[in-house]
Amino acid sequence: MSESIAHPEFDESTLVLGIETSCDETAAALVMGGYDVVSSVVSTQVEIHAEFGGVVPEVASRAHLEVLNPVIARSIVEAGIEDSRIDAIACTVGPGLVGALLVGVSAAKSLALVYDVPFIGVNHMEAHLYAASLEDPTLEFPLVVLLVSGGHTMLVEMQDHGRYRLLGQTIDDAAGEAFDKVARFLDLGYPGGPAIDEAALLGDPEAIRFPRALIDGSYNFSFSGLKTSVMNYVRKHPDVSSADVAASFQAAVVDVLVTKARAAAKEVGATSIVLGGGVAANSLLREEILDGCVKDGIQGFLPSRAMCTDNAAMIAAAGWHRLRSDGPTPLDVGATPNLRLPFLNV
């Protein structure tokens, strides 16, 4: 099975400007030929949203509008090119917060019009799947990708470019959302992922045995019950150490994620397990995935933190592949807040 290339005129020398505004990161990047990151700029709104303990859609949209132009300008300056060198503009069209997405889509389509180059609407989730290949273009299919962030938790089999099978996903909270909610409950701060990760360093992961919702026979996840049992436990034991709770909660989440990812990799005969999404920066998750992969004799690939979290290099890369297989996207597209991946099995 190989990538279908209907548009070979876009090749290794095609320079794509990627734009990402789907949540709380404003990003622009230039990627050559789908793999070579020439520049990548990310402006995060994490501090703006910290006081609310989560991403506020209207606040995010306002911030994107303010910083998008400077972020794009910086990506071009850092690349050291003339903007006339840009061959195509790729932008996330979904999934994400609609008001936030539209700031990027509107700018991206306008730039495509001014530069008279193709526009490519990119699926944010598909872009996450491409993030790893930007750091290791030699990754071989099939891959199992564990995508975990504040907005998404899914296990995907990547058979080839553009060919994915959904193995499982969360049936309630995303993993990152559970981290945010538990961190807020324990007063550890926002965003919850790094806060729990840090607090857990000083705690005992075996202090409390929180339930593992394994949902036998399925690769689906559920974190809402775990979150509730953390809250119940703390209410019943008000003097418990937050560090122990954080460490035990984190151990439960990671245990479930790693168990399912390894089982999935075994079932589909994957060469590697690849991590993606903001929660992939979690130190325990990284350690356990690597350990597990060594035991199973496969490769564990952990992209850098910058490539796991939302960025525009992955948008440009996914855009380049889509441009070659599907050609340009018409300029009358809007944003699709609940856009799904084109899975083979649904």
Partner: protein, 231 residues
């Protein structure tokens, strides 16, 4: 000097190109809320209609609100991107100025009213001055009752215009006797004309200095459901 005008602060999407010879291209559609889908093809259409290339534009004018936040931002984001890519300056004009401007020949006080949703309206007051109009009351946002109270406090001859006037016609007339008329939505045609006068005086700014006029603090509700839709 050719000016590109982009107007998306209300339900209307409107694009115009003009200069010293007036408006030479205009596209307008006032149906549904498909600003993002409509705007960029509309810009392309107006350029072709006017027989120009985007590269010939020397100023980008945009409605900076107040208005519907998401629609406004679609126009602002496009306008800023185009101005930056073309390396040209921008002129931002208030949606309320744009609604009042066509009524500059009346003796009455002109009150543009824009539907702000959630039972509220954006409004301001203007009167005629030689050669144009002048704002006599600052832009405000509030329930229709606030507007009616402000009108009663002035008790002058008033002309109320805008989509807020259309939507709340009954409520306004019940509280205060006034004329209703004028345009329901701002137009990029007016935008280009107003911007042209300012451009002649070089009253423009760089894209980074364009400030949207929201008049309303963001609704600080965290939408967990929307985030969950990303899974």
């Amino acid at each position: 000097m050719l000016i590109l005008g982009i107007e998306t602060a209300t339900e209307r999407v409107s694009v115009s190109i003009g200069g010293h010879e007036g408006v030479i291209g205009l596209f307008e559609v006032t149906k549904g809320r498909r600003h993002a889908e409509t705007l960029v093809p509309a810009i392309d259409f107006v350029c072709k209609q006017a027989g120009i290339e985007l590269a010939e534009i020397s100023v980008v004018a945009v409605d900076v609100g107040p208005g519907l936040f998401t629609g406004m931002r679609v126009g602002l984001s496009a306008a800023k991107a185009i101005a930056q890519a073309l390396s040209v300056p921008m002129i931002g004009i208030s949606s309320l100025d744009l609604l009042a401007f066509p009524c500059r020949h009346t003796e009455r006080v002109v009150v543009p009213v824009i539907d702000a949703r959630k039972g509220e309206v954006f409004y301001a007051m203007y009167r005629q001055v030689p050669g144009g109009i002048q704002q006599v009351a600052e832009p405000a946002v509030g329930p229709v009752e606030d507007l009616v109270a402000d009108l009663m406090a002035r008790s002058q001859d008033v002309l109320v215009v805008g989509d807020g006037a259309v939507r709340y016609r009954e409520e306004i007339l019940e509280g205060f006797h006034c004329e209703m008329g004028g345009d329901a939505h701002p137009s990029a045609g007016q935008l280009v004309q107003l911007a042209h006068a300012r451009a002649l005086r070089e009253e423009w700014v760089q894209p980074r200095d364009i400030e949207p006029v929201y008049l309303r603090a963001p609704d600080a509700k965290i939408n967990w459901a929307t985030r969950a839709a990303r899974t």
